[in-house]
Subunit: 127 residues, 2 copies
DNA sequence: AATAATAATAGGAATCATTATTATTTATTG
DNA sequence: CAATAAATAATAATGATTCCTATTATTATT
């Protein structure tokens, strides 16, 4: 794969945020520095960076988000504010259990835990 | 919500399979028995059945799949044949751990484990 | 540094899954 | 049975993503 300024910029943008960005968000950021960049280029390069192992993908509903964190980890998704938070859970236990119980060789665990994050906790619940 | 023959048929179809069908698959089955049914009706009713708790949704890449199994469970997705299998894992441990460590109230855990299922296991690997 | 070979891009069209719109049909209720 | 309001069929619209093609940029070679 040969070098391109576009791909370098795209990787830089993804690595520069903790916000689990979509392709479109990356595109909006990228065009600030490189106004002629096209959306197709962003999609193509994000996909390539993902197969290359430079970034990871997260399926958030019907949208794909990208994450530079290489360690296996999972996501908490708040149903109120939509925020995605990284968490490190029982990854090893899951792999072991699945391998033993189902004879299934695990490549990757994609876990999204949906609920309410601590920003919305209240002492008195009102119905 | 008032009765409709379409909704009854759609629920019957989803409950009659273990294949985690997409809206379009349900539509193809439904029109065999009710040729005039429309795709929009299938989407609308699947969505309603999901909010009603009659079926659950699974995000499989960019497609939504439906599952009638009401027990909390997770999915093994084979990267070779694409099959989705149901598995029952450490759900309670996950909920407890997330609640305690992150002060996050869990509604639902969506876990997809990607790998290779036992149909593709070989004793001798050939590269 | 100029040239040739070809990989990558920009821009836009196409596709796929899903949602919205609207005129018509149908279930419910008095 | 007639009124009414919810559900449908048909189709247009949308949003995310992929595909296409002429042009541009990178890299290897002179």
């Amino acid at each position: 794969m040969r070098y391109s300024r576009q791909r370098e910029l795209i990787l830089e943008i993804v690595m520069g945020t903790d916000s689990h960005p979509t392709a479109d968000w990356v595109f909006q950021q990228a065009r600030k520095q490189m106004p002629e960049i096209s959306l197709g280029t962003v999609y193509r390069n994000l996909k390539r960076l993902a197969t290359n192992g430079n970034v990871r993908t997260i399926n958030d509903g019907t949208v794909v988000r990208y994450d530079w964190d290489q360690e296996p980890h999972d996501h908490l998704k708040c149903k109120i504010c939509g925020d995605l938070m990284d968490v490190h859970l029982l990854e090893e236990d899951i792999r072991k259990s699945v391998r033993e119980k189902y004879n299934f060789e695990v490549d990757d665990v994609e876990m999204t835990i949906i609920g309410t994050c601590n920003k919305h906790n209240t002492i008195m619940e009102e119905k």
